[in-house]
Symmetry: D2
Subunit: 482 residues, 4 copies
């Protein structure tokens, strides 16, 4: 899918979150700035809200708000967070109807053992049951985040355990689903990954300080060295005694989200030993094998299709071309053109390069296709620019099932591949031919990856049961914050 | 004290909060706007943060933030809150070290029975014990507000009661201290006042809609008619069946904060049947009886001393004069002058009118004196303007004890009347004479008031025991939000 | 008139500007901060835009914008202006249809002799003719300010004169009308006042630095000593050789705007040797003599009628009362109530104090009455609060003529005293009686003032001919800036 | 050069401006929105300030400010500009020391014939002489723009001519240098290009409305059809009678800035009949011919080197690779890392893709090199990522001379190619080899272009004499606006 559509229409599956944490052996470190810089590198994983919590010898300071990292954090805000020896940070995406400042993370609370901060990437499949159970016991909820469920369960376990890591270990028997978590207590920074390893989480080393991040690109951004991925099911504790892993919940067959490689992750990240950029190149190469075509030029939809387009070009020997130019000054304050203007001119954010397209047979590559509305406009642009033929190649299989593991996929009714067959899609988009990557190949794109994959969104085969909607009280969750 | 000091130094006891609520029989009412206008009228009760929660057929929308009412609410924000049949609003002051967006109210949560919103004016005396107990049971706290304690206790009672008002009734046996509360459930708006009636809370009628407010001036502001004060200990429930009072906790000897009449409340409010303006006039009259002086003019420190100055003038027959002019354009963004500029010229925010002062024997009236720093500057101004004599008269007794009932009084160490005797104060302020209102008279200023008074800040005699600090976990509450 | 009306409706004559200047013998002085603080004190003379220009050894830095002083200037902006040895500042009001950033002053330009900055309070009566003539010679205008006309004429004279003060001296033969000017060249600060002395302008001394200001309250605000008023027609030059006056244009019979004493100037200012506060007290006293009434209490419309109300009370022996309370938190961002809300409740910004009003015969005092719309609402408020009788007394004569000398009076069609006779006004406002100050008395309010007065707005007798509209080119001045 | 450096250091030649204009036969057209959308497409030509002036039946409304298009214009601002039948818009870059709101364009003034608005791209070579002459005649300048000189000269001519186009025609005999101008009178929109055609300016058709723009990409953005380039020296007048060209100043040998093709213009623009994208591909191809090398992959510095990298790859048959990923969320509010952080981690804004670079012999392509500081960091990044060899190829000749024609090139002392010889540059940048495009080839990159080129920045051969600094008055232009 193209980023173009961020503004025109929310037409892409959305990663819900990114997390970052740092434990320094030195008190008075500028851990807030490290978190700030890393959140920039993880911004693609969530643009709705962000936050940072700093711990300075037990005292926690935090700041979070709706907005992008540079909007939420100023020099002054970072200075107020102050120095410390630990910090966690979070970027968040959420569906428009849950857009709320109170849902911004990290969530910072007080309980019987003092303060606790938590940052969460993922989604629980038994959230409704757990929430119902907790409410029956008199629990008050301040947010609609699954994260608050986790923090309540951990707190209840904490009353009867000696350490927070034991409380987490026990809580993990109750919570089901996808979660990569960072929990900060007054003295410890703890990284947790669910047993299936749906979402990535890795560890790095910054001059002796321990850092955790959703993706390795965040480590690069602050000059930290990659150490290893957190294992599925592992609890990693960093404190003054060093780093240790608790593996009670490890050993499950892993089930990493393959869409991290297809679209979510940044191409410069390396996840589970596999390069994201290379995975996309390979997807393009497989696509060239599966769906060859006679054409003059291969162009990628910017920026999501560029890597796969280069792979297709290399395999097919059809020249790679630069077909589009994006206006890099289009920001969030862009005033929408009227429908009339839109119909006659979608070239404000994206324009074609005539020299590449005109009178050519074009292979157009994108990573995936959700609703199809944006792709239809892009194809129209190519036609208007004089393309003789347009052959669309999609570097993933058709998207036909919901995801319960921390991404935001539209309802099936909005998925073009669920609604239409391949011929109908071809006609709707006005392309000369269309080809999707096969399910067989999609599992092979991340060469060398040391993990299994979840491809439920393509196949409907999920590693754990789909969530059952729990009975709700009449007014449950009917709260909106502005 | 003068308002002047708001900016120069925080040199006044601060009322902590104001609350407003409306229950309309008409769905789709613009209850948010009514709340907005009323919060303007209550802004003097809290300038740190404010918020409004609207309930529309069970669905609650809320918005709150740090800042004054016009800063927090824009036309757009109000529109997002939407129409509804109920709303509650809150303005809040808090000590600088608790300045935090998460402490802004109304607090809106979900529990077993759906959503609940709460707005609170007051302070619990057993908050520490209650918090400890709740935490021992696994409760997670998101704020440092006493309000969150109340909401947790009410929720725990709610599991075993048929109605929210019964849960509140039971909870009132456990919470001690000062509280005027508004609680909004999906179908009811409930007003509660503690048994001592420390803080004011009244009910009004706006074309058939029921409104509650901390002060009657808020009713005036929206054109509502005053109906009556909520009784100390009373629970008033407004729902589609009408309004009814539950008086289980009524009957206690009441103990209204006398400082509401001296300084906190707006002069145009009527509280417990007594006019605030008249109370201040009477304070001035008593003061003239107790501490007469031979002088040419009586001037009030703006704006807090103006009413009492007029009373003093009337009783003493010394002419009332306008001695000061405040610059009404000085706002919060004012850039502080340097110390040097300040020493030579405090006349930026406040200037004297030479025609009133020069070569005159001046009686200067203010409502109270806390630290004395601002008063010292004002006296210096009068001297520089050519006053022959300056006789300070304070329309309340010396302030020497802490308050535990919802105001923010500085530590004893900062109270000038605690540190210095009357002669020392006179010398520190460089006045020719000083006189305070007697404790006997202070209880009589609110003529016709149908309540008893708490004057613990002057006498140390409190109607309920002073709070005991509870044992805290090492890291308890060590959280700051920016 | 009441300030209340600023927001509800623009229902008052508006002073158009205030100016401030400082010449320091010390280079590297913080002249920008002195200007900033002084503009605060002059803010009542203009709230639309403001600006400061600093001169540091010939290099001028300036900043101006639409907005109040605290909105336009931040700590950062002041720092960017830097240190220097001279500064001039300006606050400006202008009719809504000329609201434009390019009209903000000081106007800073380059000409043959380098840079020049100018700040202007007043209005030329031959502006149209001068502009036409300059345009015929090829002059390009960037603003619609009269100020730009002055600067072009001075510049043209400057080519043929040795000094800027000579150029100004020559220019003054051509420009007619009201002007109090500050002109800053790279080495000199020059204060100029027109021959009639319509607008005030005074000189002060701040530890040896020379300061000029529209009103003495600005001197007080920075701790400067008052030295003297600039004489009508005088050119005062401050440079490294000291201060000297050029009196070529002096000697005319002066014609100070009497409305400065009635409403425009701050009560703590002293103008032409007369206290503004005392002038208003005297206006009240004269009013009590001219229009006595049997009543219980005298209240002033806040804040404009307070001084005169006190004077009326003193003379009549009827007690002075505090009848109104203004909400001091109402700011510019206030969201307007709907018409319905407005009709039933104007008490958001202004409320009555029932204890003062109810069952009383009230004398209501204001300084003047323009449209009458706001006064009508205030009277309605008094009636609703239970006033038995309302007797309106206005501390100036009826307003029936336009002003051409630097104030912004509505068209005659909007002047209630032009449209209606006294009985009709009484009925329109629903008062029991009405009385205006006589023209004989208005000229005597400023006791000891060492000047003559212009009372053209009451009498139609102007000291110089009314301006003739000049022929305009078809598209002249049809420019709006947003 | 890379865009990366915009933030790190201002390390690129800067185009100074872009212009847009529209003349509609329909009154009440939304010409402001057309200008707004087009300025987005021209934003790369100037990021300091922007503005739009709308003409509605002779009445001009304008708005301009410092900032990017989406910052300066909101929905509200555009609505205030209103509908009309003509508009001109402008984006501007300027050296940091002239950053001033008063220099923002369009410049809108009043003169003898009414209002006039002007937008200007370029730079006059005899500006100092003209300014001096005008000042000697008594002209006052409000800005430091050359544009104000043009407007004064045109105005002076206008007194003695029948039409504005005649005045412009006469003025063009006096002004020398580079200028692409749009001038809007109350009834006409006029486009002018200097005789050498230094800067581009083209005409389009939008459903019968006439549009002018610096680049064709602006026409695409609003769906307008390209009609033709304005000829060097041509004056094109659009009014209700249609469009006509005045060619008195045409016929000169043209001298288009070749840097428009190398870097300034957007790759999707077509200028003087030549595709900008193709010109850059050809530059890469020529570079491969001139400076071949044995390597594994060709990568472009993002985004400025991408087109040429693809050309180099095609010609050399060395595979094209995606070597870098830019963080697209880095905005203007980015908080600078400390020097320490910077040294160890430049990967916040730009990261390498290890899969492309590691263990490879890399050809790195960029369009030009100015100071070399950013390039040095990029090379360091490649080394750290494991590149075996780095061969730098620059798609233009060494930059060694100043430009007087409307770009902002640093002083010679800052040009790396002026200071160092090729070997020294190679060593400074730590590359294994370096190659620049030859001067012979640079003139051939724009295949089919129907114009001559200025390559003075590479050769020192300028089509018109270099400007002579004029004698200045001591304080001339010493004004800064904040």
């Amino acid at each position: 899918m193209t980023n173009e559509q961020y503004d025109i229409q929310n037409d892409s599956p959305q990663e819900k979150c990114g997390v970052f944490g740092i434990f320094s052996n030195k008190t008075g470190s500028d851990v807030a700035s490290q978190a700030y810089l890393s959140l920039y590198a993880l911004q693609h994983r969530g643009q709705e809200s962000c936050g940072i919590a700093v711990c300075n010898e037990g005292l926690m300071q935090y700041h979070s708000d709706l907005g992008l990292v540079p909007d939420v954090f100023s020099k002054e805000t970072l200075e107020k967070l102050g120095k410390g020896n630990m910090a966690i940070g979070h970027v968040r995406y959420s569906p428009i109807d849950q857009k709320s400042r109170s849902n911004a993370q990290p969530l910072v609370v007080r309980h019987i053992k003092g303060a606790m901060a938590i940052a969460h990437n993922g989604s629980l499949t038994n959230a409704a049951e757990l929430r119902e159970k907790l409410q029956m016991e008199g629990t008050v909820f301040h947010t609609t985040n699954d994260t608050e469920i986790i923090i309540n369960i951990v707190t209840k376990k904490r009353i009867h355990t000696n350490t927070i890591e034991n409380a987490i270990e026990k809580a993990m028997y109750e919570i089901q689903g996808a979660y990569s978590l960072l929990i900060m207590s007054p003295t410890k920074l703890i990284a947790i990954r669910d047993s299936f390893g749906f979402r990535p989480l890795c560890m790095g080393n910054l001059n002796g300080d321990i850092v955790f991040a959703s993706e390795s690109c965040a480590l690069d951004s602050i000059g930290a060295e990659f150490v290893r991925d957190i294992e599925p099911g592992e609890i990693v504790v960093a404190d003054k005694n060093g780093v240790r892993g608790i593996k009670t919940h490890c050993g499950q067959k892993s089930s990493m989200c393959v869409f991290e490689f297809i679209y979510f992750a940044r191409p410069d990240s390396v996840i589970q030993n596999a390069s994201v950029h290379n995975a996309r190149l390979r997807a393009g190469e497989f696509l060239a094998e599966e769906h060859p075509v006679d054409a003059d030029v291969v162009v990628g939809a910017p920026d999501s299709g560029l890597d796969a387009a280069l792979g297709y070009s290399r395999k097919s020997k059809i020249p790679y071309g630069i077909g589009f130019i994006k206006n890099r000054y289009i920001g969030r304050t862009f005033i929408q053109p009227t429908q009339e203007e839109r119909d006659k001119a979608v070239r404000i954010k994206l324009n074609t390069i005539e020299a590449t397209i005109k009178d050519k047979k074009v292979v157009l590559i994108d990573d995936s296709i959700i609703r199809g509305t944006t792709m239809r406009r892009i194809v129209k642009l190519l036609r208007e620019t004089g393309a003789k033929e347009v052959h669309l190649r999609i570097a993933s299989p058709p998207f036909i099932n919901p995801c319960y593991f921390g991404t935001d996929i539209p309802n099936r009714e909005n998925l073009i591949s669920y609604k239409l067959n391949k011929t109908e899609i071809r006609d709707y988009l006005s392309v000369d031919s269309i080809g999707f990557l096969s399910i067989e190949h999609v599992s092979k794109i991340a060469e060398n990856a040391n993990c299994g994959f979840c491809n439920g969104c393509f196949t409907g085969n999920y590693p754990i049961p789909e969530p059952q909607a729990a009975p709700k009280s009449k007014y449950d969750q009917k709260i909106g914050e502005n």
